[in-house]
């Protein structure tokens, strides 16, 4: 088989191809004006989607019914926690980041507590948890208008040769996540549970522990995203994570991870995140109205999922 043929068999190649296509369409419209700027902007925004997408990917890989719908609330809470702890002081950045991670970790643990102890299906548990978290966030962050420390805000916007530093770090992070998934005991156990939870238990996989770790991991990554978003957009906000409810799930599916569980794909998440961000950029350059933009985004996501995921899941 040729090298190209092997490359075309990878499920993630299509999301990158899609990203390239919408980028080309956008610069064809502007006659090449702003091509580089679009890539830089796309990389900066894709970072956040990739981080939450990876968390969501691990959860979805646990098998049918597993999904974390509390991510937006968790992101919102962590952004407030990070900004309050940092208090605009550059010396407190690390402490603030740790506090945001801790807040996300607690949210993830709480989700799993609801799922396990109260035997609520994950989709209901995480959705109801998100209402509780949001209420906590509103009362905790009341009147909060704290700016991020200038050093932190500059760092989240830092670029080297037009490439955001955060994007480079996130590529490294994604590599780490791929190794975690394919080459560690934890990753293998997640994949086993997703394929057949009963067989996994009988093959000696500590099912409860692995599921707990996965929800906690997803929450923690939501916490990290919350802090980074607050730095990037220069302020915390209850609604800062709202768009990640749909996009975190969309990038997982477009990226070639199986919704039925047991099969995951990390590179595809990068491709899918770039695709979604560039899609918005393209529609913006075309100058379509907000309503049409949402409609087209929805239709394109449905189309891509049907085209990319259809034949694979049919068997």
């Amino acid at each position: 088989m040729t090298r190209l043929g092997r490359l075309l068999e990878k499920p993630w190649i299509w999301s990158f191809a899609g990203a390239l296509l919408v980028w080309l369409a956008a610069i064809a419209f502007t006659r090449g004006y702003g091509a580089g700027g679009m890539v830089t902007a796309a990389l900066s925004l894709a970072v956040f989607t990739v981080i939450v997408g990876i968390g969501q990917m691990f959860v979805i890989t646990l098998g049918p019914g597993n999904v974390d719908l509390s991510l937006p609330a968790s992101i919102g809470l962590a952004s407030a926690v990070a900004m309050k702890v940092m208090g605009g002081n550059d010396a407190m950045v690390v402490v603030g980041l740790l506090a945001a991670l801790g807040s996300g970790f607690l949210v993830g643990s709480f989700n799993y507590f609801l799922i396990r102890a109260l035997r609520i299906p994950p989709i209901i548990a995480t959705l109801s948890a998100s209402f509780i978290i949001q209420s906590v966030d509103i009362s905790y962050g009341r009147g909060l208008q704290i700016k991020p420390p200038p050093g932190f805000a500059d760092f989240t916007n830092l670029q080297v040769l037009g490439i955001p530093v955060l994007a480079i770090l996130t590529v490294l992070f994604a590599l780490g996540a791929a190794v975690l998934l394919q080459r560690t005991i934890y990753g293998r156990q997640v994949l086993a549970i997703g394929q057949n939870i009963r067989a996994a238990g009988l093959a000696g996989v500590p099912v409860g522990r692995v599921r707990y770790l996965t929800y906690a991991l997803c929450g923690t990554l939501g916490g990290l995203t919350g802090a980074l978003l607050a730095g990037y957009f220069r302020g915390a906000n209850v609604d800062i994570g709202n768009e990640y409810l749909l996009t975190s799930i969309a990038v997982v599916v477009i990226g070639g991870t199986s919704v039925a569980g047991g099969k995951a794909n990390v590179p595809g998440i990068w491709g899918a995140a770039l695709f979604l961000v560039l899609l918005l950029t393209m529609l913006n350059t075309f100058g379509v109205s907000a309503g049409v933009r949402l409609l087209l985004t929805g239709l394109i996501i449905v189309g891509v999922i049907t085209a990319a995921g259809g034949p694979k899941s049919a068997r």
Partner: protein, 489 residues
């Protein structure tokens, strides 16, 4: 002996390939009305593939299918149904989330309108009563709540129910693999009655005695080809085994000396079933093979699962010392990871030992897979192929490799020889005895009385309780069957 009539089905020069594997390599067979054809061959010989072709679930790459004298051009499952060809597959085909009656309705689209549920219930209940008197299955039971043996009984009975389409040929692909001796004999005598009434059967089994005792004609397959075919009376056990290309099948006389030093060996498992009212308990010591016998689904699997759980969590009435591994018998539900390769399926129980530093080493994983491919004889060109590319028996070997390749000192086996051919069985028995001599303890639930001869000690179960406790030198088939039916005090 009934009059054997015209040829009802003929396959001519049928070929089917899966990639480089020639599952069927030019097979020609014919089945006449009112005859029972026995089909034997090792795992991967092509038996199941051939039956899929006959049932319309697999399309041949070459060759023709003739039913009732008419060549079939667009042969399919529904065409097979209208022509009266039914199949009981080895991988059970019932919908697990539906009731027994609802599954029957799926099979018979003509049951419709008000009261369909009751009519479907009556149909399947009557057939179950006819085939398996005293079966204990209700038409309103959800299939996934039934033990695998009962699911198989439903599957078999359903294939023989008749509404509008005629019934001419039933293919039974290892119908007794999950049945105990009692229900197996009920099924076999039903098959003989059915054949006597003019319906044909194709009967696949690894139990050569069943084939020899119930077929009119026997076809032997090897490597996707028919190697010989002839009247059943011209075959005996040894000839069958030779034709299949296996090792001489007469089990070597097991060293009969009961373990003299039983008491002095280290205790590995002590367990009392939940429903046990007297003081009986199951004891297994280091290096022992302990059998769990009795009718299917009388608490043997429950006890194995309880022992499995007790290895990691504290449990009442059960003591387990050392790590435990389980070989599943119901491999689709309890064993296989369908998206993984053969080597990943083998390695999952031993991940900690496959690491190099923090990461799992592909080299070590390959090495373990290669070692077990040779040791247990998994038939595949590449251990990186998907597990489902293997035939049923070879999938089962991979599950054995998973357990035997692990660090577990105690191996639990949940009727693990379903769909495994004679040659492989003998190899695995030998492997188990070897491992036991090396100090491993085996708890072995089996529905085949012959397999109990490999055990040092046998506990017979009835209604969730241990009702008899036999040393190897006390073990006879009569005793096992007798205690299986005896009501315990």
């Amino acid at each position: 002996m009934p009059e054997i009539g015209n040829t009802i089905v003929k396959l001519d020069g049928v070929e089917r390939h899966f990639g480089a594997v020639r599952a069927l390599d030019g097979v020609t067979i014919a089945v006449k009305a009112g005859e029972c054809v026995g089909l034997v061959g090792h795992n991967g010989a092509g038996k199941s593939t051939l039956m899929h072709v006959l049932a319309g679930t697999g399309t041949p790459d070459q060759g023709t299918i003739t039913v009732g004298g008419e060549p079939q051009t667009a042969y399919s499952v529904s065409r097979a149904q209208t022509l009266g060809i039914r199949c009981v597959f080895q991988e059970l085909s019932l919908c697990p989330n539906l009731t027994v009656a609802e599954n029957t309705r799926i099979y018979h689209p003509s049951i419709r309108g008000i009261g369909w549920r009751r009519r479907a219930s009556d149909l399947i209940s009557a057939k179950l009563d006819e085939v398996f008197p005293g079966h204990g299955i209700s038409a309103s039971d959800i299939v996934q709540d039934l033990a695998i043996g009962k699911r198989q009984m439903v599957e078999v009975a359903r294939a023989f129910t008749v509404t509008d389409a005629p019934l001419r040929l039933v293919i039974l692909d290892e119908p007794t693999s999950s049945l105990d001796a009692h229900t197996s004999s009920q099924l076999l005598s039903f098959v003989r009655r059915t054949v006597a009434s003019g319906i044909s059967c194709v009967f696949i089994s690894h139990l050569l005695g069943e084939i020899l005792g119930n077929s009119d004609r026997i076809i032997v397959m090897r490597d996707g080809k028919v190697v010989t075919a002839g009247a059943a009376s011209t075959f005996n056990r040894n000839r069958l085994v030779t034709e299949m290309g296996g090792i001489e099948a007469e089990p070597a006389a097991v060293a009969a000396a009961a373990m003299a030093d039983r008491e002095s060996r280290k205790l590995r498992v002590r367990a009392r079933p939940v429903r046990q009212s007297d003081g009986r308990e199951l004891i297994a010591r280091e290096g022992e093979i302990v059998g769990l016998a009795g009718l299917a689904a009388h608490g043997q699997t429950d006890l194995l699962l309880a022992v499995f759980r007790a290895a990691t969590q504290r449990a009442a009435n059960i003591e387990v010392s050392g790590p435990v591994a389980l070989v599943a018998g119901d491999r689709q539900t309890d064993g296989i990871f369908a998206q993984w390769s053969i080597s990943e399926n083998i390695g999952i129980r031993s991940l900690a030992r496959l690491r190099k530093g923090l990461l799992i080493s592909p080299a070590r994983e390959d090495e373990m897979a290669a070692r077990w491919r040779d040791k247990i004889g998994i038939r595949t060109p590449d251990m990186h192929n998907n597990i489902l590319s293997l035939s049923g028996g070879n999938q089962q070997k991979a599950l054995f490799a998973r357990a035997l390749g692990s660090d577990a000192g105690i191996v639990l086996m949940d009727d693990p020889m379903r769909g495994v051919d004679v040659g492989t069985k003998l190899e695995v028995y030998e492997l188990i005895r070897d491992e036991a001599r090396g100090g491993r303890t085996f708890l072995w639930y089996t529905t085949e009385t012959d397999e109990l001869k490999n055990c040092d000690h046998v506990y017979v179960f009835h209604n969730g309780r241990i009702v008899a406790d036999l040393r190897r030198d006390e073990l006879t088939e009569e005793k096992v069957i007798q205690s299986s039916f005896a009501e315990s005090a």
